[in-house]
């Protein structure tokens, strides 16, 4: 592969909590390993390129989420990317809209049906640190992030939870996020990959068609220190 093209979808609608961070982390980790990266920001009034190698979609409020889902359905490129096995990382509102349906502005909207799940409203807003033990077959270690959402997500048969919750709420207080094939969705909002570099590496490995273990190692002293701090903060609060 010559250049890794990473598309960040709809920053004009879905970029509420430093969502750009995931694009920056992926580009940094790829370039450190000598992989060229072409980051591409695609606005909601532009066509989505279907030749990209990876797609990112972020979080946002109800109104923009509903508009984003409608435009993504019209465009069709994200569904085709999922069918083609391209890695997709979806955060919070972006995660919800990959499902069969989601709630916004007080009613249900059709999602993209890329992930077998549906979302509705929870009894209260989930705000705070979230941590969990990730699905072992992903090899990404425990997860750590910050969540801020009012939705609850119910997983169907065709997806696996990304993690079992050890702190925070996630999907429903028991599980957090979902994955199937090369698609990962999570309630860890904004720059989730900055605290979970092994998820970043998993996405990169999928994009270049290798095993994460075959990626050249990176000095992760600082991300590991940050992870340790956040896990410790969560434990101290419990």
């Amino acid at each position: 592969m010559s250049t890794l093209r990473i598309v960040w979808l709809y920053p004009d609608l879905l970029s509420t909590y430093g969502d750009r961070g995931n694009l920056l982390v992926l580009a940094h980790r790829a370039r450190t390993r000598g992989i060229d990266v072409e980051p591409m920001q695609v606005r909601s009034d532009q066509r989505i390129p279907h030749t990209a190698d990876m797609y990112l979609i972020g979080g946002g409020e109800d109104g923009p989420q509903a508009v984003a889902a409608e435009r993504l359905l019209d465009d069709g490129a994200l569904n085709r990317a999922a069918e083609a096995g391209k890695p997709i990382l979806a955060i919070c509102a972006g995660y919800q809209l990959l499902g069969e349906s989601f709630y916004a502005n007080g009613r249900a909207y059709a999602g993209l049906n890329i992930l077998d799940l549906r979302s509705d409203r929870g009894p209260s807003r989930a705000v705070g640190e979230i941590a969990g033990d990730a699905a072992p077959q992903l090899g990404i270690g425990p997860i750590t992030g910050f969540e801020n959402h009012g939705g609850r997500t119910h997983l169907g048969e065709a997806v696996q939870p990304l993690a079992r919750v050890t702190a925070g709420v996630g999907n429903d207080g028991a599980t957090e996020g979902a994955w199937a094939g090369h698609v990962i969705g999570t309630y860890m909002h904004g720059p989730a990959l900055s605290r979970n570099p092994r998820i970043a590496d998993l996405l990169l490995a999928w994009a270049v068609g290798t095993d994460p273990a075959h990626l050249p190692p990176i000095d992760d002293t600082w991300p590991e220190r940050l992870r340790a701090e956040r896990f410790q903060a969560v434990t101290a609060a419990q």
């Binding site: 920053p11 004009d12 609608l13 970029s15 509420t16 909590y17 430093g18 969502d19 750009r20 961070g21 920056l24 982390v25 940094h28 606005r43 009034d45 946002g60 409020e61 109104g63 923009p64 508009v67 705070g128 640190e129 910050f146 801020n148 909002h189 904004g190 720059p191 900055s194 605290r195 600082w222 991300p223 220190r225 940050l226 701090e229």
Partner: protein, 414 residues
Amino acid sequence: MSANLTPRAKFATTLLRTAAALSRATGRGDGSVIGGRVGLIVEPRLLELLAEGRHVVLISGTNGKTTTTRFTTAAIEAIGKVATNSFGANMPTGHTTALAKAPKAEYAALECDEHYLGQLLDAASPKVVALLNLSRDQLDRAMEVTALAAKWRQTLQASAAQTTVVANADDPLIVWAASVCQRVVWVAAGQSWTADSAICPNCGSHLDRFGEFWRCTNCGLNRPSPQWSVAQQGEAVVGPDGRRYELNLQLPGRVNRANAATALAIASLFGVDPAQAAPRLSEVASVAGRYAKVEREGRHLRLLLAKNPAGWLESFDMIDPNPPVVLSLNAREVDGFDTSWIYDVDFTSLAGRKVVVTGDRRTDLAVRLEVDGVDFLVVDDIRAAIAAVPPGPVEVVANYTAFQDIRAEFNRVN
């Protein structure tokens, strides 16, 4: 003014001053909030009564309101006494205290929290309202900022016709909110964070930008021609008739020249000659510790407060190109517990200089800087940061509680 106060309002004012003085004497802060609270319990209409008969300006926006209020006060003091909430107590309790403490002031320059603007418009019947900018911060995320602009628009539409609005022509949210007013003076005050106004607040279509000009592709909302602007060359403000008013500010950066332009626009509405007001702005050396210069062991620190992405970008624009930079980040309750927003800030302009990071969440900053390819050194606190840089000038950028921690290290420098 206070000569016309009812006995109850006079009593409330006395109690307010006593409570504020007690609070100061017992070291619980400057007493603005507690004093105002006591006064408003005794006389709920106290703010309204104290404001009556004075010429009031309200100054609001996400960033720059404390500094602009200070500049405005300095400018209007050219013609009379000014009551002002200089301690940053920018809610009605603080406004009440500011007015009670200056019974003889004919003018009032009040910094106003964005969420209290409507209430203040009712209570203070201002002659002028200045609207600086709206962007995301810890409490108001992107879409909530648009909702706030909508609320302002509604309030301003209902407000008295004698109010003149001084508004930032470069911020689409501000323009949309202010454009319902009959009398608007537009200032080209700049916009350092455009991501919250990619979408037209009026119709939801995309905004097109060409240089400083912007317009909606659908409904035609666009940048009004400003009457006041910051000079392209040199340090000056250009007024409505094209006349230049030279500035010699102690406060750094284009953003403070823009704050000066807004202050001069306000002052001229109060009948102050801008040529007389402009030199007075040079007397402002720091604002509640912001921009303060302190010295320790040969290190000359300049303290910059930056609470949100726009504020950090403004700071990076202000700092001198060569000295080492200390960055300090906390995530306590008033800062917001979430540090995600640091990924909304581009740190690449710091690459190649000495960067020292500290604060409760220094590790978050370390990871952030690594991603942007900026070399850094992590230290435990401001003392260690000072020890880590050579003698000479040092720029310090910190978010709210991190800034207060550093101020405390220097005897709460003002």
